[in-house]
Symmetry: C2
């Protein structure tokens, strides 16, 4: 099959690789209808993560079931499915506790930007749509494989509550989905910290009541002013670097929780401030499968349209251009069609 | 008055210092009936915190109101009161949210091991007992000024729930109070990590169902075995150093929260594990006033007897001996009578 591969920093190619096949009775193979590029793919692209030269890349996709293993009974070829980036059996103790991201049989999508993707633990991981969805709904469905579920996880982890104040640090696709999540969960004030006009516009569409363009001390001061000197009741850290984490703790009120979902890189937690102000940290890799049925319902009934985070739609052949645009912040998130 | 003062590492004296006086209308002066030595006092004693030579030390006490400022209307000379180590107005936005440890008018007891202590924000901070308590109840009442409230805060922060599993890291007085708190809150399994037989005995009296004497990987393995391979639902970190924090994260199940209340010293948080396993961190300085009415009721009705953590009772003149015993772990916690 044709698949996106990475060979070195900034060296993204489309290569011929072996088709995935059913290797275990719990596997399924999905023919990818749409995949996309994740902010976390850029860590490899920029050489900040180790690269296994020639390996496939991409962990987000939706598509049609092509083949299933003998233990996969709820899905059959032809079903349109959302593929959580983190595969889980949905039956182990961690899954039963809602923590599918720590499943004892955890697996990952490794060729989401390709013609086919292998799903380990297909029975526990996949979720079907009601029939074959309209093309217009594909982008929003695709966000449920990772980015929307991850933004939702940030909001859940931060403890967003009806009537409260949520502050979102990071205006990437995850941050924007965090804004949408906080808004759907009923936060009365949703403050998006963003300096980029097109992202601010989406944040407003997603329910942000205020935009704070300042960063650092000025950003913290702006949030304080918007929250009557108190700080945010719930703070969503949707980047993963040290500056964003420090910003998150700076805008959190005493007793609040920072919900973090960005893969941490070079983060040093401000433990003294955490202690003195009782500001907690919760979150991590999103248990996508936990949220998927609820989020699918919200997409299918039109309550949310998280697909708006895609501002570019490229054929697989142009995937390298997609990486370039995201790396240079020309695009928020790029959809890839095999 | 006679007061405990610190002059250099391991140099604790009883000195004559000026009596505290009412300096602000929100002040009260309390004649100390009993004070005690806190594990956190040992940071200074060991030279790990800066020392202001000749300053008074001690932040835990109970006693009788001696004088009040003009704005203190709920207390009068003669009232027996618990003095939260962290004073608060109990009216600001943070206090109203239950986070009195971050009060806008935060103050601290600074001469708890002395004849008199000044309480700033007396109206918001103090809690009266029902009449003058029996001598036998003094130790338990004294724990409410800090150590029992702090153990309680660890349990609240860790999210201890009825029927769940709680693991307590640290067998100092705070850890033992954490065991008691987890037990009172209904945890079905309470695992105390302790290597010291006398402390194990108190842990059992306080409701520990299991003792794990191993540490490090072996300790984590022992907890895993006791929790059917899953880990603790709630973990109380009651020490504040790096080894204890790492232990706490090692025994927590995915999705759990580590409740931390030990003043952090040299702690490096395992952020990768936190992310990958979704293990949160919450807690900090205890909002003593928040818990005080509830805990006082539990002491007065005999439900809890946290005073058992005191295994030494010394006159003020021997306070230096008390520090020595706690430093050398000959005593768990030392009560000081002026």
């Amino acid at each position: 099959m044709r698949a996106t591969t990475i060979h070195a920093p900034r060296d993204i190619r489309v290569s011929d690789v072996p088709d995935p096949t059913i290797g275990a009775p719990t596997d399924a193979v999905v023919k990818v209808v749409a995949g996309c590029i994740c902010g976390s793919d850029l860590w490899s692209y920029r050489g900040e993560n180790d690269i296994d030269a020639g390996s496939t890349i991409g962990h987000e996709c939706v598509g049609v079931v092509e083949a299933v293993g003998s233990e996969v009974t709820s899905f059959a070829p032809g079903d349109f499915v959302i593929v959580p980036f983190d595969h889980c059996d949905n039956t182990c103790a961690h899954c039963r506790a809602g923590m599918q991201a720590a499943c004892e049989n955890l697996g990952f999508t490794v060729s989401g930007q390709a013609e086919y993707a292998l799903v380990t633990q297909a029975e526990g991981s996949l979720v079907k749509t009601d029939g074959t969805p309209d093309d217009a709904m594909i982008p929003s469905l695709l966000t449920l494989a990772d980015v929307m579920a991850t933004g939702w996880h940030a909001a859940v982890s931060a403890g967003v509550r009806e009537g409260g104040t949520a502050v979102v640090v990071g205006d990437g696709a995850v941050g924007l989905c965090g804004v949408l999540a906080a808004s759907v969960m009923g936060a009365e004030t949703v403050i998006a910290m963003s300096r980029h006009e097109p992202r601010q516009a989406i944040a407003r569409q997603f329910g942000a009541t205020h935009i704070v363009a300042e960063r650092g001390d000025e950003g913290a001061e702006a949030v304080r002013e918007l929250t009557r000197g108190v700080g945010g009741d719930a703070v969503l850290e949707c980047v993963g670097n040290d500056a964003a984490m420090k910003q998150a703790f700076a805008v959190a009120r005493p007793g609040a929780t920072v919900g973090f979902v960005g893969v941490p890189h070079g983060v040093e937690l401000p433990i003294r401030r955490m202690f003195q102000k009782n500001i907690g940290l919760a979150g991590g890799m999103a248990p996508v499968r936990q949220y998927l049925p609820e989020l699918l319902k919200l997409v299918q009934d039109g309550t949310i349209d998280p697909g708006l985070v895609f501002d570019a739609d490229l054929p697989l052949a142009e995937v390298a251009e997609g990486y370039r645009r995201m790396d240079e912040r020309e695009a928020i998130k790029v959809l890839i069609r095999p």
